[in-house]
Amino acid sequence: MTTPLTPPPRKDPQKRTVSPTQPPGMRSRASLGLSAAAAEGRFALQACAECGKVQYPPRDACSGCLSTDLPWRDVSPSGTLLAETTIRTSVNLYFRERAPWRTGSVQLDAGPVILCHVHNDCDRNGRVVIWNRLDRSGQAVLLAVPEERTPVMEDDPQLRAMTSDPKHRRALITDARNPNAPALAAALKQAGASMIFVAEAESWRPYPGRKALEGIGGIEFLQMDVTDTSSVQRMAGEYGGKTDILINNARFIRPGGALARGDVAFARDEMEVNYLGLLRLAQAFGPAMCGRAADGVNSAVAWVNILSAWSLSNNAEFGCFSASNAAAYSLSQNLRAEFRPSGLRVMNVFTGPTEDSWFQPVPPPKVTPQAIARSVIGGLRDGLEDVWCGDVAKDMHERFLQNPKILEREMTGGGQG
């Protein structure tokens, strides 16, 4: 049984903060399909298009018929633990620091035998489920977990090393004024976050969510506006070393595309908040968080962006807003590259229209603040990189994967007759 994590003691000021190290990150190009699936929390393997054989490990030609047509397909994650052992030492720094580490082999119901990490609650020769997760190098690793949930299984050190669980961690929400802030804060509290900071811009004007935030209890308000560099630097100076999870929910949105607007004022505001806001936060909070990515139970673990699914393909009704989100999405990929050496994970939560005043004239389905909060917490617990929240975002993603050009043509409409 997993020993429940206890809240970490206060940091010993005489001890050097542990530098982040990484598990091996090298993969073949074929193997990256597994990482792409892990980024969304799916378990997928190559299945030969000609003979149907499920492949493991990922490869360039079918191990049964030598076909090179090996598309990735979600397969059953169930199997049986064949053999297991505990590694007590390693020449690899990352595992050396984290030994003992349980590994084993699993006979998948889908066919192949795989080598994987093994959750400590798995019984010998027992039934297991394979979770495909990203490790701290940002690459897929397979972890066998018991078929039935066990108490506090998320506290297992091997699993926790792969996830971004908010339990016992301190989270910063960057925009108290966003209608989703109270739901996010409540969900973090529910998930066991030890401290919740909420950044409030322009406290000189009231907003309806303030009461709801106060009602949650234990929220600490920080005076910060993502468009004001000095305020971001000041708060990062004070709280950057206590921010384990940063949730950037700052958003500026107005309807309209290029011609509908007639000027660049709102577009500039959208870039200031949605793109440059993210950049300012990254420059101010990024270094401190990267430096604390191996700092024990409450290490800095994840950077969350809440983006519009229209960052993938422009929606003309919100054309300029979509463009600013495309910029933010692109920057999030840059952050992944720059955070990679530390293991700090960038998770993007993509949403369709949200249930708030700016989407009031847009027909449902719309994403509620609670749905966003569930996606954020769920994504953190699973250590994901990409989360598609709500039917509109899921549909957008699916169509994007099928053919981005067709999606673009659909999204840009127009034509007569």
Binding site: W204, R205, T227, S230, A265
Partner: protein, 261 residues
């Protein structure tokens, strides 16, 4: 140098004339006017470092700043309002520079504004002030002292669900100053020359409508008005020379005789 200027220079040097700063610091977190969100908005003051004696510029420090013409302590030109769109010389770069230095009177409404945050200054109130301090001279600046500048944070805009609540002139009050006293301009300590509920007066925003329609100027977000005498001070308020500008952040100064307060 004329005798008057020599005397002024001496008075400034010996402290018998002092200079009072009526300006708020340009601070990113200083309130600006808030309009319904579908309208264009007043840009906040923002400052980005270009270099600070570092790799971006080893021996110098400087910033890029951005703001609206109407951010912080600022000047309103006649072309700011639709009533003043066709007034001659209505942009900040066109206004004759002698308009930027001149006499100023201060009408103290601080007790009334403390009592009633929606206080509006009407002609009777102004006449009562004149009974005590004399008739408002023609072509003078008139500043409405409310001590509102001593407020900070949320109480400054005092925004509620039915809008902002702050003092200002009544429609009749501002018309009296413009039409009966032919003032040069009108200034307040609040975020605008109009009362917080000014959109519900007639005409809406009467100070903006009346002042600018008559080619008069506005000043807002002033501070330290409690350091000015009711009459006898000289105001210096020169906006930036912005081509076709409708206003400008500026440093507002007053020269005050030592014994005047």
């Amino acid at each position: 140098m004329s005798d008057a200027l020599i005397q002024l220079a001496q008075a400034l040097a010996d402290g018998s004339v002092k200079v009072v700063d009526l300006t708020h610091t340009l601070d990113p977190d200083f309130p600006v006017i808030i309009l319904p969100p579908e309208f264009g908005q007043c840009a906040r003051f923002r400052m980005e470092e270009i270099s600070a004696y570092d790799h971006r510029g080893p021996a110098w420090k400087w910033h890029n700043i951005t703001m609206s013409e109407h951010t912080g302590t600022h000047f309103d030109a006649p072309n700011h309002w639709i009533s003043g769109r066709d007034v001659p010389l209505n942009a900040v770069d066109e206004i004759p520079v002698d308009m930027f230095v001149g006499p100023v009177v201060v009408i103290d409404c601080s007790a009334e504004a403390t009592e009633d945050e929606d206080f509006t200054m009407d002609p009777d109130f102004i006449r009562a002030w004149e009974d005590q301090h004399g008739r408002i001279p023609e072509d003078a600046w008139v500043l409405m002292r409310t001590d509102w500048s001593k407020r900070s944070g949320a109480p400054y805009l005092n925004m509620r669900e039915d809008g902002a609540h702050s003092p200002g002139p009544s429609g009749d009050g501002i018309r009296f100053l413009v039409e009966e006293r032919n003032i040069r301009g009108f200034g307040t300590e609040t975020v605008g020359t109009d009362a917080g509920q000014g959109m519900h007066l007639s005409p809406p925003y009467p100070a903006h409508f009346t002042l600018h329609g008559a080619g008069k100027y506005g000043l807002q977000c002033l501070s330290n008005l409690d350091q000015l005498p009711p009459t006898g001070a000289v105001l210096m308020a020169a906006p930036l020379k912005i081509k076709n500008g409708t206003g400008s952040p500026l440093r507002v100064l007053a020269m005050v005789g030592k014994d005047a307060t």
